[in-house]
């Protein structure tokens, strides 16, 4: 498949190349803060990309996606607390547990539609949030500081900032490639069809529930991985990680970046976190600027940032 150098491809290439080169700049400029901000952007982009699979392509507006960030993070935190720091143990457990939680939540909530689905996913996420608050042995409300970061037995070392950064970068690119294959596959066609017209899908012979549930579980597992990375990045995990406002942040990233576009979540995470960083240094009330900006993009930029790029492409 030849890739045409359209603006969509060009912008994606520039942004990903920028991410790839950021550590070089960080080292040359001696700016270590930018690297930890960059890591956070990559991790949130991964979480947003997982939400985009079900929200953007599958039309499932999950308002509880941050729950998996918490599940992944707490697995790392609790295992480290008990002295199990090997990433080869922690990470599979975190991903599988996130998948299991998603299977449970999805199996019940996917029976509902629209507003009810939003509410029930929110309710489940809040339940998990309060489980986190109730973990008194592990810090309860105050959260849990990681004794040590996940250990791959040498390389890559998460204690080394550039190595950790590149690990997140590679995982994000791998996840985006996975999403690209997934969305274009037969499975992806079923997910898209169920978003577009579910009754018709049943009429032509698809039992769509099992496919939508599978997508929901994949999204939960990938977001659980993002939670693992986030906890390692912050050396900390707390119930606040899975507060409903964090689920809202993820939706904002997906909608702002462009629902149902591959790179949308990356643009969304980049924009939200970069704006948050730069505006909050200007004023404590940065959300007064960010709010109207979000409203404008959603009102006038149908399809978010990725949609704007696509429209610019068509005008040329």
């Amino acid at each position: 498949m030849a890739i045409k150098p359209t603006p969509t491809v060009a912008v994606a290439t520039i942004v990903l190349a920028g991410f790839a080169l950021l550590p070089v700049y960080a080292v040359l400029a001696g700016d270590s803060f930018v690297l930890s901000l960059g890591t956070r952007i990559l991790v949130m982009a991964l979480a947003a990309a997982s939400l985009n699979l079900i929200l953007g392509y599958g039309g499932m507006v999950s308002f509880g996606h941050a729950a998996y960030l918490g599940v992944g993070g707490y697995v790392v935190g609790i295992m480290a607390y008990h002295g199990v720091t090997s990433a080869w143990v922690q990470w599979p457990v975190a991903i599988l547990l996130s998948a299991a939680v998603a299977l449970f939540i999805g199996a019940l909530s996917l029976r509902t539609r629209g507003l009810y689905f939003i509410m029930i996913t929110l309710a489940f996420a809040q339940m998990i949030y309060y489980v986190g608050v109730g973990l008194y042995d592990y810090g309860g409300d105050d959260g849990l500081t990681l004794n040590a970061r996940s250990d791959f037995g040498g390389f890559p070392s998460l204690d080394d900032r550039p190595q950790f950064y590149y690990l997140c970068f590679i995982l994000l690119v791998a996840a985006l490639y996975l999403m690209k294959r997934l969305v274009g596959s037969r499975f992806g066609q079923v997910i898209r069809g169920a978003k577009s017209n579910d009754p018709r899908m049943h009429a032509i012979g698809f039992p769509t529930m099992r496919y939508r549930l599978t997508a929901f579980v994949i999204a939960g597992a990938v977001c659980g991985l993002a939670g693992v990375l986030l906890a390692n990045q912050a050396d900390f995990v707390s119930p606040a990680t899975m507060h409903w406002t964090r689920s809202g942040d993820l939706i904002v990233m997906v909608v702002l970046g462009g629902m149902g576009s591959l790179m949308g979540p990356v643009y969304g995470a980049l924009t939200v976190l970069a704006l948050e960083e730069s505006l909050s240094s200007l004023t404590h009330y940065w959300k007064i600027i960010f709010g109207p900006f979000l409203v404008l993009v959603v009102l006038f930029g149908k399809g978010g940032i990725a949609g704007l790029i696509a429209r610019w492409e068509r005008r040329k």
Partner: protein, 251 residues
Amino acid sequence: MTGTILSTNGLIKRFGGLLATDNVSLEIATGELHAIIGPNGAGKTTLIRQLSGEMRPTAGSVMLDGQDITAAPMHRRSHMGLARSYQITSIFPDMTARENVALAVQAHDGHSFRFWAPAADDARLAGPALAALDQVGLGARADIPASALSHGEHRQLEIAMALATRPRLLLLDEPMAGMGPDESARMVALLKTLKRSLTIVLIEHDMDAVFQLADRLTVLVYGRAIATGTPEAIRVNREVRQAYLGDGHGG
């Protein structure tokens, strides 16, 4: 042309106080084109919905090939050879015509837990999809987004999607609704071809088309099947003339 492919026995559908289907017992013979006619609000679409599985009857049963499918979900009925088209166009507007039909092909080509290979380059989907589009006369419009097709083309696309599931029994809910005379004529020609190889249950308001196409008709009035018979028999049936066609209708 022998045997019964689909039958209903004492089918009843109640919406609160309204009896939308009133004890309907139908027998659709294998190979026939069976039209269901009746004035607006007679419960034709409600009946089709119970046949296709979108709606459960309040009482009574639906049999397909002698198997009780009253409780079978839509997707199972589809795999048993039953397909339907909708009165109000029901397609995937954000996909191309070809993708719409390819989805219908895919539904009947094994499971879809295939996560890797691109569906767009899949000849097993594209081939039959194009064949179905050609069959309804939409072959040249395969790569147009479905939302950009005309009303008449939407009707054709509906049929192509139904055909792509390789059904034995086709339920068509007003396939000519809103069509101009030329488009209607083309649809009649298409249905004439299809009826050679398929059993068809047709709901239609265009009486000229119905009397041209149908082998048998059932007349539905207020949810009740008041008569079933050949076009000739229905035309002269006194009860039907009174209830539906009106005395002024030329025989």
